[in-house]
Symmetry: C2
Subunit: 216 residues, 2 copies
């Protein structure tokens, strides 16, 4: 393939020269739009926020993305140790690229479907519990379901679930805001997007950005 | 599972009572936010826009979503005939639920990777061409790559690619706006989001909304 256009975080997922040219131009535009808003962040934090805005075309993320001080270091440690990545829905899993560790999502597993029914909880929440029962250890990525994020926080606090960091960017008008507030109040390295906004592309942008940082 | 919470379009993907309750409450909030902006749309069009705003928590989509007059009918015909669905990236494919026809995405196929290299085009564009070479017939769903949307329009116009409708909601600051303008000027039933915004959740929300309409 000649030059490997995936080798640097700056490429934002491009794998051909054409894709790279588009990503470069996009990065310039993104920077010009949000530069002033992210100037107090570290370069790694800036890189994450830029990738979110690149992926969503929504500069508001430069204002609503909040990163805890230990989030990047703990996440990088987890990725370098090839610990697990657990996603709330399969769409998030499908977007994560070139990770050498295991990526799991249990939302469609029979165990999660049965647990949801038995316990009268959402399948997304049940899927996090199933991961804990399967000795999960690593980073949790919630791009969709507030109930999954609440469950993850609960399992860390009450049952010592082994979670290195949480990417908590569920989306929606019911519970998302509250679940992200709960995460920032928990003692877990985290990144969130304040308010109702968030979603799969945001979750994927953050995760892939962290994975690319570990290539360097 | 008792009541099937996926059986109505209004459920927005919920599959448990808890998920259903959240979706219902979300739908009420979404409606109150965008009601005035979508009051001139048909009930099916409203249903699509509501699902987009539910999925993104971004009411701006009520203003920027544009649906051609023949889009819903042609899409429903295609779905009822179980014709193909072609997505630009795997994340979009991963989000489409309960479709009885085939869903394809060629972006990771060797043929697309080779074609992209040989022709110096993006992999996303090459993947659309591979689908045409494989006699695709159905709905194209572009949630990410403007280059894929340009290629689809080109193949329909120049090579008679069999496309029933295009969900054209690529995202980004480079080419997305222009590719969506080109789609609205082409003679293809379409839905777009004006400007740079769009993305996987928007593409998935539209597609699943159409599929659920066919359950009735």
């Amino acid at each position: 393939m000649g030059k490997n256009y995936e080798s640097r975080e700056t490429m934002m997922g491009a794998s051909t020269k054409q894709g790279y040219d588009i990503a470069s131009k996009s990065r310039e535009i993104v920077r010009s739009l949000i530069e002033a808003k992210i100037k107090n962040l570290s370069s790694k934090e800036q890189s994450i926020v830029e990738r979110i805005v690149h992926s969503t075309a929504d500069p508001e993320y430069a204002e609503i993305t909040k990163i805890s001080s230990n989030f990047i270091d703990e996440s990088i440690k987890s990725i370098k140790a090839k610990k697990g990545i657990l996603t709330d829905i399969n769409m998030v899993k499908a977007g994560i690229n070139k990770y050498e560790g295991e990526i799991n999502c249990y939302i469609s597993h029979d165990d999660a479907i049965k647990l949801a029914k038995d316990e009268q909880i959402t399948r997304a929440a049940a899927a996090i519990r199933i991961a804990h029962q399967n000795d999960f250890d690593g980073i949790i990525v919630i791009g969709n379901a507030p109930t999954a994020l609440f469950e993850a926080i609960n399992l860390v606090e009450k049952e010592g679930m082994k979670v290195r960091s949480i990417i908590g960017v569920p989306v929606g008008f019911v519970g998302a805001t509250e679940s992200k507030e709960a995460l920032t109040n928990a003692n877990i390295p985290n990144i969130i997007t304040k308010g109702p906004k968030g979603g799969t592309p945001v979750a994927v942008a953050i995760t892939n950005s962290l994975i690319r940082m570990c290539d360097d």
